[in-house]
């Protein structure tokens, strides 16, 4: 049986209740004091368009346009709140469902769909938005983020006091990843090197079919404490709290204060991927519990209560989402299969006799079919 609600003994940092009422906390409320109505609308737009992207991608998979899709449904607040706390010079290492973070970083989201359509393994330059490629081997990239942060330390971009210069890394992973050796080694390396890295764990309660009780007997954030790393649990469906705790953690990292472990307590409202069937392992009651805590509804309730939004603006956003959906569908359908030589490119940065010979052989082999009609799968 999964844990529907956080246990009572955990300090769940929350600045917005599920019904949209503000919670005043002297430690974190000051960190969101500057977020005016326009900023709230910006967050709402990020979350809504991320959800639209996710919905479109799911539909495209069902139509056979994508081989697989990993939904971000329900995790928009955790992703948008934390992503918005990052500075442009911070380096982000996502896992594989951080579509909301990608959106906040400015990535053209359809580039993500290239990987799920099977035409490349990562369709963007990580340097363009300081947003690394998706990593599918669970937890592997926690070490890359830590090493990258160790490089930042050596480059003198940590603790200089210059907000334009000081930088940190942030790595996203899930509840399942906290059991991986790589993640634990990353926490060791980050701790002993005081590396400027924020470990952002989205505890969405389910690692495919396994509840967090199969990963840990303590709340996940306490795992970070065991490494001597400041660690906390935040309401992952509260975009304001996610923003507040992440901005604090990144600020500490950039200033030379070392790593932080954040557990964002959220819920994977969709399936693990389009190949999964959650009805086999979790209850409808549990799903309803979390639907009642939808992160997008929560922010909308606040904005309405504070007159931060009107119907005209919402209608405009709705039109934008419709156009965005059309753009996603059109773009994905226009993605073409790469030519066969694509598979031989960039195996090595320098020449390599074995690959070079095999490529030459295959090209010659394919030329022998030059007169035959082309087939979808090649020869």
């Amino acid at each position: 049986m999964s844990q529907i609600a956080p246990p009572d003994d955990v300090d769940l940092i929350q600045l917005l209740t599920p019904t949209g009422q503000r919670v005043d906390r002297p430690d974190y409320s000051p960190r969101i004091a500057h977020l005016d109505a326009a900023a709230l609308r910006g967050m709402y737009r990020d979350m809504l368009l991320t959800r639209r992207f996710d919905t479109e991608a799911t539909a495209l998979q069902r139509q056979g346009e994508l081989g697989l899709w990993a939904q971000s449904l329900g995790q928009e607040a955790a992703q948008v709140g934390s992503g918005r706390a990052a500075a442009p010079q911070d380096m982000i290492f996502p896992a594989y469902r951080e579509h909301g973070v990608a959106f906040v970083r400015g990535l053209e989201l359809t580039k993500i769909l290239r990987q799920f359509r099977g035409i490349d393994h990562g369709g963007w330059d990580p340097k363009d938005h300081n947003f690394h490629l998706y990593t599918l081997v669970i937890g592997s990239h926690t070490l890359h983020a830590t090493g990258y942060a160790m490089g930042m330390q050596r480059d003198g971009v940590v603790g200089t006091g210059d907000p334009q210069r000081d930088a940190a890394t942030m790595v996203y992973f899930g509840d399942g990843a906290t059991s991986e050796g790589d993640t634990n080694e990353a926490l060791v390396f980050a701790a002993v090197n005081n590396a400027p890295v924020v470990f952002f764990c989205q505890n969405n309660q389910w690692a495919i079919s396994e509840p967090t009780s199969r990963q840990s007997r303590v709340p996940l954030y306490r795992r970070g404490q065991g490494f001597g790393i400041p660690s906390l649990r935040v309401d992952g469906n509260d975009v304001l709290a996610c923003y507040a705790v992440t901005s604090e953690a990144l600020e500490r990292a950039r200033s030379g204060g070392g790593p932080t472990f954040i557990e964002a307590f959220t819920y994977r409202m969709g399936a693990h991927t389009t190949s999964d069937d959650p009805t086999r392992y979790r209850s409808a009651a549990e799903e309803q519990y979390w639907r009642d805590r939808d992160p997008i509804d929560r922010l909308l309730a606040l904005m309405k209560a504070e007159d931060a939004v009107d119907d005209a603006w919402l209608a405009e956003l709705d039109a934008e989402a419709t156009a965005f959906g059309e753009h996603i569908r059109t773009t994905v359908r226009s993605f073409e299969r790469p030519s066969s030589d694509f598979m031989f490119r960039n195996v090595y940065a320098g020449p390599h006799a074995i690959v070079d010979d095999e490529r030459a052989w295959f090209e010659a082999y394919q030329r022998t079919f030059a007169d035959a009609p082309a087939t979808e799968g090649g020869h």
């Binding site: 393994h121 592997s140 160790m150 490119r345 090595y348």
Partner: protein
């Protein structure tokens, strides 16, 4: 020319790389004040400091995984895995991440990471300290796999490996660490492409022995012994398994008509199988006998009191030479 051990020559090559490029850093267990368990990094921590010669936590995946991140940030990490048998905790980082990042990023990311691995047996060690896992990495696209056999190559090849834009598994024959040879410390290391080029270690006319790393010295001893009996053996030091310089080896075998491949790793599914297949295809009408392989048996590396029965020594290689020539 300076007389150096293989360990000393690699040390000199690492020192040269640290001097020439501020982005080069060494990472590993006990490589700092101790100088590594084989002293290959001796003196480097004192001269370059703990930020560049880094004593890491005891976590091999962590060493390689953080090296990947450092390389993404523009550094050229040289990782030391303390012993061959301890590389497996890092196997995932090496094969799923390090080997594939350039490919999956469509060339946007290069990872110039070197992983130094003392390997091979013959030193009377306890289990997990004498293994030869090179074929596992040669089987992984995206990695370069090289091994020096002499101090001169140790000095040059470690610098070439560090200069390579690709990840390099640098296997150091630990049983040869204390073998001495002449090294020209003033020589330029040469371009990284040179890493994949085999060399004729000894010219001969009757049969070719293909060897690499620790078995090159064995092959040269075999050639010496056979010469006394009138057999002329050519020894090819492959230096690299990925890429594999089939051309140099095939040119030799076309002249001699015979080939024996020698390595310490188990013969079954080992590098020798790939080499034999390629030589058979490239030299089929020149071969007067099948390509024979001499190496370890399909058993875990045995207890040290039996390792000289397991390792391909002088007698077993001579036996294979005789079998090939009398086929």
């Amino acid at each position: 020319m300076t007389t150096l051990t293989l360990a000393g020559a690699i040390n000199a090559g690492l020192r040269r790389a640290l001097e020439n490029d501020p982005k080069v850093l060494l990472m590993g267990e006990d490589i700092g004040a101790l100088g590594g368990v084989f002293r290959v990094t001796d003196g480097l921590h004192k001269d370059f400091g703990g930020e560049r010669v880094v004593d890491t936590p005891l976590a091999e995946a962590g060493i390689v995984g953080t090296a990947i991140g450092l390389a993404m940030r523009g550094y050229r990490p040289v990782c030391e895995i303390q012993f061959d048998g301890f590389i497996f905790p890092a196997f995932d980082q090496i094969t799923t991440q390090l080997a594939k990042m350039h490919y999956r990023s469509q060339g946007r990311i290069t990872l110039p990471v070197v992983i130094r691995v003392p390997y091979g047996g013959g030193i009377g060690a306890i289990e997990h300290h004498s293994e030869s896992p090179e074929a596992l990495f040669a089987h992984t696209p995206g990695l370069r796999v090289v091994t020096p056999a002499t101090p001169a190559d140790g000095f040059a090849m470690i610098q070439q490996a560090i200069a390579s834009p690709d990840p390099v598994l640098f296997f150091e024959p630990k049983g040869r660490y204390w073998d001495k040879g002449e090294v020209d410390l003033d020589a330029a290391a040469g371009a990284p492409e040179g890493l994949g080029v085999a060399r004729i270690a000894r010219a001969g006319t009757d049969i070719t022995i293909a060897a690499y790393g620790p078995t090159v010295a064995t092959a040269l001893k075999v050639a010496e012994a056979a010469a006394a009996e009138g057999t002329s053996i050519e020894v090819v030091d492959l230096r690299s398994l990925s890429p594999l310089d089939t051309a140099t080896l095939a040119e030799s075998v076309r002249r001699t008509g015979h080939c024996v491949v020698v390595h310490e790793a188990p013969v079954f599914f080992g590098a020798g199988a790939e080499i034999a297949a390629r030589i058979t295809e490239a030299c089929f009408f020149h071969l007067e006998a099948p390509v024979l392989r001499v190496g370890g048996f399909h058993v875990p590396y045995p207890v040290s009191k039996l390792e000289h029965d397991y390792l391909p020594g002088l007698d077993r290689v001579l036996d294979a030479v005789d079998r090939a020539l009398s086929y």
